[in-house]
């Protein structure tokens, strides 16, 4: 069936929302893994019926679930994430050193060309890879060698929350960590370097332009231009035209440049989306108006998208992994809120509808475009 599958991770389970290409009528699945926190679920680009889900609770720890039929049936696979060698320590909130401890998987990124290869970004921050469909996991420890002892947790924990694979160069991987910054590997994940030049964290760091320590919230790229990156930092929206070697601010006329997710239009590499949030101490939209902002110029010039979104008394948040686009034409864009709504626009943001209203708080949204 040609259409769209929206994969929604929530505080109390996963939901799969399905529609045909018109994206008007939606089927909502029963909750998968009811009662568990589903930080992320994502499909394999190489096999859309292969899905992976991160399932966890504070009681019983981490599970990874795998589906081979588009999410109708699931099986638990490997859940052992052991840091390579002696884990060592990182910086704690008070500046002391603190042992590295695995807590949960925040993000799963299946490889572009192999359904059995999948990357996992975890808290405390590290990158793991499985090459057997999630049965076993091995850390890529070179990442933590990139000044890991200076990384410190953000308010949400020291999480590796973003993994981007370069479709034109299988050796190039980008990751982002709160609150450490952005990192790039050019050798398949063996060695890494911080890519944070140009980021300024005046309120968060003793040295506002330090190599590491920046609270990067999310990074996005367009697959046809993997050297151009867009970033929503704690404060500031940034872009890089050289694969992260240098960043410039493109916040422009946004009502607030604090926020969590950032996304790129499927067919227009210079069209990007953010959802401004009032501040780091008030995690809801400015003025109680839920507005997606779109820039058609790769930043700096932004327009508010409001049609169909609540414009009064709205005080939800949108988490960093909770916005995604489909590949149809016109491009569809989707985001989920802490109030349990998933909003969709089938026309690149011009008109919005809540395709589901009352889910548990949404942690992540991913979209599969089905052939």
């Amino acid at each position: 069936m040609s259409g769209v599958r929206v994969l929604v991770g929530t505080r109390k389970g996963a939901f799969i929302l399905s529609s045909d290409v018109r994206r008007k009528k939606w089927d909502v699945s029963s909750p998968h893994f009811p009662g568990w926190e589903i930080y992320h679920l994502k499909g394999s680009p190489a096999d859309p019926d292969r899905l992976y889900a991160s399932q966890s609770t504070g009681w019983f720890g981490q599970q990874i679930q795998r589906s081979n039929d588009g999410g109708q049936n699931w099986e638990p696979v490997g859940n052992e994430f052991t840091y390579d060698g002696v884990p060592g320590t990182h910086q704690w909130y008070d500046g002391t050193q603190h042992p590295w401890e695995f807590k949960r998987v925040w993000y799963l990124e299946p490889a572009l060309d192999d359904p059995d290869t999948v990357y996992a970004g975890v808290e405390d921050a590290a990158l793991f890879r499985s090459q057997d469909g999630g049965q076993t996991w091995q850390e890529l420890p070179g990442l933590r060698s990139a000044k890991g002892h200076l990384w410190s947790p953000g308010a949400g924990g020291m999480c590796l929350h973003t993994i981007l694979l370069d479709p034109t160069d299988s050796r190039r991987i980008f990751t982002a960590i709160s609150a450490a910054g952005a990192f790039r590997s050019d050798d398949g994940g063996e060695t890494w370097k911080p890519i944070n030049k140009g980021l300024k964290s005046d309120w968060e760091l003793p040295d506002p332009e330090a190599d590491v320590g920046h609270c990067v919230h999310n990074i996005a790229m367009h697959p046809t231009r993997p050297g151009v990156l867009f970033m929503q930092k704690h404060w500031d929206v940034m872009r890089s035209d050289d694969a992260g070697d240098h960043w410039v601010e493109v916040s422009g006329n946004l009502p607030s440049d604090f926020g969590f997710p950032i996304a790129v239009h499927a067919h227009e590499p210079e069209t990007i989306y953010v959802v401004p949030i009032k501040s780091d101490s008030e995690h809801y939209p400015p003025e109680g108006k839920l507005r997606v902002y779109r820039s058609r110029t790769g930043g700096n010039e932004w327009e508010a998208l409001t049609n169909g979104l609540p414009q009064e008394n709205c005080f939800v948040n949108i988490y960093r992994s909770a916005m995604a686009v489909d590949q149809h034409d016109p491009c569809g864009i989707y985001f989920g809120t802490t109030g349990g709504q998933v909003y969709a626009s089938p026309d690149a943001g011009d008109h919005w509808t809540a395709i589901v209203h009352d889910l548990p708080a949404v942690l992540s949204v991913e979209v599969q475009t089905l052939p």
Binding site: W59, F60, Q63, P76
Partner: protein
Amino acid sequence: MIRVILPTHLWRLAGTQREVQVDVEDPATLEAVLDELEARYPMLRGTIRDHTTKKRRDFVRFFLCGEDWSLEPADTPLPEAITTGAEPLRIIGALAGG
């Protein structure tokens, strides 16, 4: 035969009923029961105790014959009422959270 009662999340995860039965060699201990449980249901590894250290997870407790065994050494022989199946070994998830 030892009867083990699992918390809801774990028996659903393992695809079992609330109560499962395991056989372990004498002298039966909590450690032996958990080893057997994890061997039969690999998805339970890491959910009750740490993969490597075998330390009980913070929000998990063990109750036997109405007594809290959570802090007992894992190699303590289990009471006869447990080893004969007269009483179940209860694995409990803490009442906490939202």
